[in-house]
């Protein structure tokens, strides 16, 4: 069983979570359709350390996880308020 350390619920089976993809900054509401398409569909899809939104489904608790997509290691997890405005962890 793979364990995800949840900032709210502690270490839990990763099957209780859903991964919702890279942390990115959404375009302004009045941005062009092309900018929205870029945001919605295109991905960095990096082989390396990524920062993603995850959700613990039973508690609907959203948080940030950093993990290495080459090795399947979870490096750290933290709550949304530890993200600064540029979208990077403090």
């Amino acid at each position: 069983m793979k364990i995800m350390p949840c900032p709210l619920n502690g270490p839990r089976n990763i099957q209780e979570f859903i991964c919702r993809g890279e942390v990115r900054i959404p375009p302004a509401a009045d941005a062009s359709a092309e900018a929205w398409a870029e945001y919605l569909f295109y991905r960095e899809n990096k082989a390396g350390i990524v920062r993603e939104w995850w959700c613990h489904l039973p508690t609907t608790f959203w948080f940030i996880a950093e993990r290495d997509t080459r090795t399947d290691e979870i490096i750290r997890t933290y709550t949304f308020d530890a993200l600064d405005e540029s979208g990077s962890g403090r």
Binding site: R43, E44, E52, T71
Partner: protein, 413 residues
């Protein structure tokens, strides 16, 4: 024949039966460099040489040919998709597959078994009726059938209503088949090699030299190669290679796992898929049960295996075929699937004027190998995608003109 066999048996000459020519040095320049020696790259090389007379072609693979998803997939081919564009394309691919053993002079073990996609909910019955009508409209054999007909085609299935997800019906696709995956890579590689294509294994592409919106040279672990045109066909590594070429893709790389059981006496003819239960199964010519399910729950570039996958798969599989409880798993593996948001592939031109792409093959691209290879060869040769693949252009995401194939591609690869 017997005389020839006898002469061969008694004779001393044992002709060399190499599939590929001996490894060669890289040439300083190729008219076309194909990145990725899976089925798609090798097929494109073959059709470039055969149909377009372009033979100064190199196929580069960082590992060995067919060592990616081509050699890891579960070999199912079918054409009962949901969108018109998808059905037309996959039907053309199956048409090419049917005569490919002869064309490539290699036994691809094309084996038509029939393909059943089980429905356990009213919602899936609805999607299946929709699929059946689209399929028939385009001349593909496909029919929604009830539980009695399911029992007639596959009496081994547990049709009890006393289970968590009773079988309510199925989409029956009598032409569904399996094809020996390795042989597809070897067949195309050997035929391309005989026409003069150079196949360089153990040659990883690590960068591109780009000038004025064109790729002028390909950097590899064995040195730099000048190129006229470049075709990228690297499946799960598409984003990494395209990022090197300076453009992003609407693709996530997610592992897909599969496994086979120990061999048992042949008992199962058709391919059985359940989208709702996330599992599928067929029995190989060797008697092994080939089994798989949906992709892993999060993106990853590792082909590790997990217990979660096996537990999830078996729980449902045992509901469909309870007697499998006695059978042991023998082997397990994974491949890296290049998943698009609309479950349809990406084929055609890229933002670079002499660079072409076939990607987004996700969990469903083995069946597409011949049609993708042939169409991409034409696209590279003519600098224009043939009509068959035009709807699969990369720009469809920017133009908000996606294809919506999830209803037919998500588990039933």
């Amino acid at each position: 024949m017997p005389l020839r066999l006898l002469r061969f048996g008694l004779g001393l000459a044992r002709p060399d039966t190499r599939i590929l020519p001996l490894p060669q040095e890289l040439k300083p320049h190729y008219d076309v460099v194909i990145v990725g020696g899976g089925g798609h790259g090798l097929a494109a090389a073959y059709y470039l040489a055969r149909q377009h007379g372009i033979t100064n072609v190199a196929v580069l693979d960082k590992g060995y040919i067919g060592g990616g998803n081509t050699g890891r997939n579960t070999a199912i081919v079918r054409s009962n998709y949901l969108t018109d564009d998808g059905v037309r394309f996959y039907a053309e691919s199956m048409r090419l597959y049917q005569t490919l053993s002869d064309e490539l002079d290699i036994n691809l073990m094309y084996s038509q078994r029939g393909h059943l996609t089980l429905a356990h909910t009213d919602a899936s019955i609805r999607t299946m009726r929709w699929r059946a009508e689209v399929n028939k409209h385009l001349g593909v054999e496909s029919e929604l059938i009830g539980p009695d007909e399911v029992a007639r085609i596959c009496p081994q299935l547990n049709l009890s209503r006393d289970v968590r997800y009773p079988i309510l019906g199925a989409l029956s696709h009598p032409v569904g088949a399996t094809v020996r995956h390795d042989a597809v890579a070897w067949g195309y590689a050997r035929a391309a090699g005989r026409l003069g294509v150079a196949i360089h294994q153990g040659t990883e592409v690590v960068g591109f030299a780009i000038e004025g919106g064109r790729i002028t040279a390909v950097e590899t672990t064995r040195g730099r190669i000048g190129c006229g045109k470049v075709l990228i066909a690297v499946a799960g590594r598409s984003s990494l290679v395209c990022n090197m070429a300076g453009f992003r893709l609407p693709i996530r790389t997610v592992p897909l796992q599969a496994c086979v059981s120990q061999p048992v006496k042949r008992f199962l003819d058709p391919i059985i898929v359940s989208g709702s239960l996330h599992c599928y199964i067929w029995q190989s010519q060797r008697g092994e049960l080939v089994m798989g399910g949906a992709t892993d729950p999060y993106p990853l570039y590792s082909t590790r295996s997990t217990l979660d996958f096996k537990e999830g798969l078996m729980a449902h599989m045992l509901e469909l075929l309870p007697f499998l409880g006695e059978v042991k798993i023998m082997r397990q593996w994974a491949g890296l699937s290049d998943m698009t948001p609309d479950f349809a592939p990406v084929m055609g031109k890229t933002p670079l004027s002499n660079c072409y792409l076939t990607a987004g093959w996700g969990t469903w691209g083995f069946k597409a190998t011949p049609a993708s290879g042939k169409a991409m060869a034409a696209c590279v040769a003519d600098d224009r995608p043939p009509e068959l693949i035009a709807p699969f252009r990369l720009d469809r995401f920017r133009e908000l003109d996606q294809l919506g194939e999830a209803g037919a591609a998500s588990v039933g690869h």
